[in-house]
Amino acid sequence: MTARSGRYRRAWSDRQSPSLTAVRRAIIVLMAAFAWAGNLQAQQYHYERPVQAAPTVEDIGNGYELPAVQTHPPRAWWRHLIDVAVLAVALGLCAWLALWRRSRIGLVVLAIGCLLYFGLYREGCVCPIGAIQNVTVALTDPQYAVSYIVLAFFFLPLVAAVLFGRVFCGGVCPLGAIQELVLLRPVTVPRRLDRALGTIKWVYLVLAVWFAARVAAERDFIICRFDPFVGFFRFAGPAHMLLIGAGLLALGLFVGRPYCRYLCPYGPLLSLLSRLAWRSVSITPDKELDCGLCAEACPYGAIRRELPVDEQTGRYVAVRSACLACARCFNYCPRQRVRGRDAASQGAQVDQPAAGATGGTA
């Protein structure tokens, strides 16, 4: 069909004069040019900036007042100071509740309070876990000025660990608190599996330091990027991190604090320093009662039977580097219940050996 039409056209144009072809071409070009300019005019506004300078208030007249530029100033410095003060007070309160008061209910209340303040109100930033990266950058990059608040948040829990053990984990950290609250039916993780999984957090810490120590253009803060719970505090976040967070919380129904024990990169620093602790959670040695209920109650496998050389029977000690100061053990202790019933007579008696026993657990 096409071949035939082409043949006819060629035959027809051979008969016509070449001048006619030229005229036809000129008409087409003219029409196209007209259509092109017309289209431009019909479709697009020919824009030219009408003014060269901004008109002043006098130019505008009629009592016009210049509106202020919309602005929301950043958080005031004293509010940051309040954050640091809340952190310090919470650490002290946690140490008192876990080590002296031995009050599980008090610690739960403190944990909820810190979850509300550092989690929901402050929305997870600044946090000591992420501050590892800022401190790393400050140590490796001379151009980087770390802020005072970040320094305070990084060092206060470490100092508290040297004095009282991992009290930051027990009642202050919002990531710990959210897992502590969902733990319904703790199962015991086999010792070997526990130890094997526990090495992950060291790898994570090394990776986080390595990524943060790179040059500014390639730097990445992986702890913040893969924070599983901050999305819940903010009610917003990447879907995959929310899913991982929900998965960890679901696992946390049965396995006590999976993030804290196996992933948290701040944990290694705290567990190292808590070995030196001046005071830490201790199990009162008792000649008559050696039931081991506390060891069964501990969801983190932090209470173990130890056989000292100078004693015939073993006794239960709280391993400092693993104890998260949750005070669950005291809740299960028959002696503590006795103490709770008539605190006036028994309280001093129980507290005294508690202080003396700390030396033996190191």
Binding site: Q43, Y45, Y47, L66, H72, W77, A138, P142, A145, L276
Partner: protein, 199 residues
């Protein structure tokens, strides 16, 4: 308390003291170089939507798309003192759209219709082209996509619109998603430079 301190106690105190001094020393070393709290902010001279010299570029909308918040903490503001108050504002109207019956472009540029246009001063009802117009950005609608910023940039406009961070929304993330995605490293965390920077 009545017991004499054993060798173990003394050793423990010494190690503990060393650790505390070490922590304190590290903190003091870092504190000497530390500064006040920085806040995330946009460097207008680096941002491709507002920096001069970058002509014929596509608008960068990463401030709107990358923020972890549903409505980004970045939004555009109009610096009224620099605004030309044009009859046909290239940031308000889509100047490439067809002309309507009033001789104005028929489309608006803002995809969220966040810019308000009101005549100000002595208003001439017969000749709208003879009036000054005030352009205010509704911060409840603006998501900081930056199209108006690019359109108002010189030479088309006077460059009065810029992108800023709303500190009432900004979560001040340690690792800001926008800063990670910014192609020009224009999203920086620094202390605000006095009142001039905010005004």
């Amino acid at each position: 308390m009545t017991d004499r301190p054993t060798r173990r106690d003394v050793l423990g105190h010494a190690v503990r003291g060393t650790a505390l001094v070490g922590l304190g020393g590290l903190a003091a070393y870092l504190a000497r170089r530390a500064g006040p709290e920085g806040v995330w902010q946009i460097d207008c001279e680096k941002c491709v939507n507002s920096r001069l010299g970058a002509v014929g570029v596509e608008v960068c909308e990463r401030c709107a798309t990358e923020c972890v918040l549903p409505l980004s903490a970045v939004r555009a503001v109009n610096d009224h003192a620099r605004c030309g108050r044009c009859y046909i504002c290239p940031a308000y109207f889509d100047i490439k759209s067809a002309v309507n019956a009033e001789g104005l472009p028929s489309q608006k540029l803002c995809p969220r219709d966040a810019i308000e246009r009101t005549p100000i001063g002595w208003v001439d009802p017969d000749d709208p082209a003879n009036n000054y117009y005030e352009y205010t950005i509704d911060e409840r609608r603006c998501n900081g996509c930056g199209r108006c910023v690019l359109a108002c940039k010189e030479p088309a406009g006077l460059g009065s619109i810029r992108l800023v961070v709303r500190y009432d929304l900004c979560l001040d993330c340690n690792r800001c998603s926008i800063a990670q995605a910014c192609p020009d490293d224009a999203y920086v965390r620094e202390p605000l430079a006095g009142d001039e920077a905010t005004a």
